[in-house]
Symmetry: C2
């Protein structure tokens, strides 16, 4: 992509409305645009990051047998009445359509997925199943803040699993714990992310959250450094301020953001929909469910909170909008032409490259923009480098740069 | 994908509620599920088809310089008041959120994209631009019918272009006409699709629709077979029942479905938002806009209306849920094992293959399902074919099948 053609621009203005680092840097870099509080447009650079995060999640969900669908955002009121959540889910957007039909905007999809899977599952032979989607979700938050960490409209992956008994759910749940950690590893936030005990429900004492440590987080967690797990402050009394695995009482408190939540639902949703299956002896048994959510746009915001410095963002390799930022400082027609050829060669090699070909922007501004955008590797081509038939390569995460001949750069890239 | 693990099942039941062929076949095949009138879930097979259609559209929009974004579905009332459409857009879903804030659910995104692009475009040097998204749209239709041809919630690609003058828009519009035809060619509906003059607006006498001939269509068009263009019945009086290109009066009437619409908007949306740019002489000039829509889920339904027979769907190659349907009729453990090996070899080769490995389904039922699902190529492996170390290959579109040795099948696939 040629930066001269990108319709967005970077900005030096720090939004007065936004207090969060993720919103400030993502707005300044032209990754997102704010339509109103809690609702953002994903601009081309941000959409690329979001797509890469969602691709990682998709791959990991497919690895654990997830089947991808796309459920409607418009949910009939009836489905939410069945589970009792029409009146109790406090952030549900409600609206009325033609014929006075009432809808909820999907904030979570147990009310749709349960009767859906029920249509196809009759026997123990049809279980287990795992169904997921990558979708825009809506929540009528009273206060929207924290940039894309907590929005009124956001992107989320939600997977629902269906089992013939508790043991089968428990085994799948363990596989999902690992799948989620693979997602966070690939997104570059694994080291600061803890599997965290959180409040459960009727069918399980605890659920699990994935909490990433950051000052921007709204949650407080207590970390057991022996077991590398944590406890949400909401249950710290329940566990008597001690790790429930090793009884360690030296728990370390930290602020954190929830980047995922997995939950053993039991029959909470299958029961009200009357979703059962016939077992080997032809007896009807209740279907046991689990649910597993990751907010992909929230992960994007969390990455920015974790990976930035005073100059801008440092995107992890696998989710960076581009792998290479080719920055041309060339002024002479002959040099400009050589930079163009280099860009075309990189594109032909299938490299994801952003090419700063803007003719009327000073070097200092180009470097500042490059640091703000946070592409992992910057490659400068200039009169100085071309005199040596070379480019200057610098990692965003490092202060040092290296000169390398264009030939070996192209051979190794 | 192993068919034994797919959570959906085919059905022989023809829905009494659905009159359209696309809904009946897509429901029976397990491509979609109906949540309520006009609102469907995309099931795994349907989601694959939709994704392939959207990938084609994305590639063709990128080829004409489109930059992909994702705009919010929640639109503030204020934006729609600016253009006057809050009160005049008859199928707008409206809702109220916390703080009594009023929203529209995005039915089209001129009200969001215009002030968005305005934030980044100041000078003639910043133009032209083309911005698009692939998104779920909402329309509060009084009557929802025709399956996924006209829904209350549907998938759509909408692109908006921004120009410094009319000529620049006109040139881009011509490029887009060709881009759209490439989409329809790749989706297998080009031959029945006509560029059709339709009513325009304040800024252009006519807009253009792409109309695909089918009895399921809600529109009437008049085709000029000399020019291979058509006229929507809504403007046939305006053109005096004659082709406005060659004056041919022998126009052929047909029922058709609108699968795309492109429109020269002029300053209809830039004017109310005060979106102008400074020209070479530093004078402010109005930005000229165009918009270009394709309903990707509607294209999916149209393909089914065009490509089916009494047994089921015939998916065009490029948008089929899978390229190959490997159907095992094996009963003996040794044969089952050979079928498994063949499946694994196809997967390893990167072939999109659906493997009917269901152990307890009769051959006749497997063949009926295969015809219903409409994957372009069926490959049968059975005791009979394995006796010759071969497979039996049949195109969905043909009555004839061929035996081929497994070795040459694998070499050529």
């Amino acid at each position: 992509m040629r930066q001269s053609q990108l319709f967005t621009k970077t900005s030096k203005t720090i939004s007065q409305e936004e207090v969060s680092v993720n919103a400030q840097l993502l707005l300044r870099g032209g990754f997102i645009d704010k339509l109103f509080a809690g609702v953002y447009t994903m601009l081309p650079l941000g959409f690329r990051v979001l797509t890469k995060i969602e691709t990682i999640i998709r791959e990991e969900m497919n690895r654990v047998g997830g089947q991808e669908v796309l459920m409607p955002a418009l949910n009939p009121k009836e489905n939410w009445v069945v589970t009792g959540r029409w009146d109790t889910f406090d952030v549900l957007f409600k609206l009325t359509g033609s014929g006075d039909k009432e809808y909820a905007l999907g904030a979570s999809h147990e009310e749709v997925v349960t009767p859906l899977v029920q249509k196809f599952v009759f026997s123990y032979k049809d279980l287990p199943q795992a169904v997921y989607q990558m979708q825009t979700k809506f929540r009528n938050e009273a206060r929207a803040k924290s940039g894309i960490l907590r929005g009124r409209e956001f992107r989320m992956k939600d997977l629902y699993s269906f089992h013939h008994n508790q043991q089968n759910l428990d085994e799948y749940y363990e596989r999902m714990i690992e799948a989620y950690f693979r997602v966070y590893t690939r997104c570059g936030i694994r080291e600061k992310t803890y599997l965290t005990f959180a409040s459960g429900g009727t069918f399980s004492k605890y659920s699990h959250e994935y909490q990433t440590i950051t000052e921007a987080g709204e949650d407080s967690i207590y970390i057991c450094d022996t077991c590398n797990i944590a406890f949400n402050s909401e249950i710290i009394e329940d566990v008597n301020h001690a790790c429930n695995q090793c009884q360690n009482k030296e728990l370390r408190e930290a602020k954190a953001i929830e980047v995922g939540n997995i939950f053993k639902l039991g029959t909470k949703y299958s029961a009200p929909f009357g979703f059962s299956y016939s077992d080997e002896n032809n007896n009807q048994q209740p279907v046991i469910m689990g649910c597993y959510g990751i907010g992909s746009s929230r992960v994007m915001g969390t990455v920015v909170e974790i990976h930035h410095d005073e100059k801008g963002i440092l995107w992890p390799e696998e989710i960076a909008p581009y792998s290479l930022h080719l920055v041309s400082l060339c002024q002479e027609p002959d040099h400009i032409q050589q930079a163009e050829v280099l860009y075309e060669q990189l594109v032909a090699k299938g490299i994801d490259v952003l090419f700063d070909d803007r003719p009327d922007v000073r070097a200092g501004e180009k470097f500042a923009d490059s640091d703000l955008l946070g592409i992992p590797t910057r490659v400068v081509v200039s009169a100085k480098t071309l005199a040596q038939q070379s480019v200057e390569i610098k990692k965003r995460s490092s202060e040092d740069s290296d000169f390398k001949s264009i030939i070996s750069f192209l051979a190794e890239v």
